[in-house]
């Protein structure tokens, strides 16, 4: 699993970070979503960020089985 950020589309609204159940995400000083420090391995691929992002700027890449 990996998170993919399309930074050029992200508007830094913070919706993804607010609802992430594992507090994996943060909005940086540059107003872009990113993985918070120390949370690199915490994502559970629940897809909530991808599902609500109004700008289609964050995706959960699922490994093809």
């Amino acid at each position: 699993m990996a998170l993919k950020f399309v930074t050029s589309r992200c508007k830094g609204c913070g919706i993804c970070a607010y609802f992430c159940p594992k507090k994996v995400l943060t909005v940086t000083e540059l107003n872009k979503a990113a993985i918070a420090e120390g949370k690199e391995n915490d994502c559970i691929s629940c897809g909530q960020c991808e599902m609500r992002c109004p700008d289609y700027a964050i995706f959960v890449e699922r490994e093809a089985k």
Partner: protein, 275 residues
């Protein structure tokens, strides 16, 4: 929304869209696209017709048969399309102002005819595009540029209005409840008759700022905390319902003739069949 769907359905070069940071319109459009993909419809068999407003911009971003039309008039234009091409899956995107104020009359008559259109109301409780005037769906007690001392008018329940006028499928979800919203839009498109799905969504810029809830995530959290699934809602007392609203499939009936089907009979009669 899944990345593959952006690739498959969005017009290249049109993203980022022009909606404000945290505007719920992008999330609602994502649910419409996901619903269409789940139904495995061919892009060419789908039309997305919108009126005028921020939410109505949605038709410009996606690669279906689309038209961004006239304020309040998305339903009449969609009606014309459906009459000419009854085989087309016609989805209508309209703001709360677009379809309940200037377009309110068209809404009740489209519902009355039970024509097979799927109307998605982007209800952000405000006129977003023109700077925050209140709409017939703004609740009392909120600020708007046209109500600096708070709104005093009761609001429509647009689903009750549409159901009373004849809509045969009424449902509500929010931009927080994305899987529910997606599945209701899917069911609405599959339903043969007039379907209306109210998507409660946030306008952080022109509703939020005036009403001191400008953080987009807090607007979504409000939707999470105030939308109640119908099964639970049905068991609640009037006191418990205060300030809350029901979500889910609220009404559906399949015993009313759909308009283009009825019109087929007119064509047959006009061509000389026995009346």
């Amino acid at each position: 929304m899944k990345e593959a769907l952006v690739e498959k359905y969005f017009r290249k070069g049109h993203l980022p869209h022009l909606w404000c940071p945290g505007c719920g319109n992008g999330t609602v459009l994502g649910a419409i696209v996901t619903a269409i993909d789940n139904l495995k419809l061919d892009k060419n068999d789908v039309a997305l017709i919108s009126g005028i407003g921020c939410s109505s911009r949605s038709s410009g971003y996606v690669d279906f048969n689309t038209a961004n039309t006239v304020h309040g008039r998305a339903l009449p234009i969609a009606t014309g399309l459906k009459m000419a091409r009854p085989d087309m899956n016609v989805v209508v995107a309209s703001g709360d102002g677009d379809c309940s104020a200037i377009g309110g009359n068209h809404l009740i008559h489209a519902a009355r005819r039970n024509i097979d259109l799927t109307l998605v109301v982007f209800n952000n409780s405000i006129y977003g595009m023109t700077g925050g005037q209140y709409s017939p769906l703004t609740p009392p007690g909120f600020k708007a540029t046209t109500a600096p001392y708070l709104t005093i008018e009761p609001m429509f329940d647009i689903l009750e209005l549409a159901r009373a006028a004849g809509a045969t499928f009424t449902a509500r979800a929010t931009s927080y409840h994305v899987p529910l919203l997606t599945s209701l839009i899917e069911k609405g498109i599959a339903h043969k008759g007039f379907s209306i799905i109210e998507a409660v969504t946030g306008c952080p810029t022109n509703f939020g700022r005036q009403n001191k809830i400008a953080a987009p995530a807090l607007m979504m959290a409000w939707q999470r905390d105030h939308g109640v699934m119908k099964a639970k809602w049905d068991k609640m007392t009037p006191e418990e319902r205060e300030g809350k609203f029901p979500i889910g499939l609220l009404s559906e009936r399949n015993d009313v003739t759909e308009y283009t089907k009825a019109y087929d009979e007119i064509i047959k009669r006009a061509q000389g069949a026995e009346a």
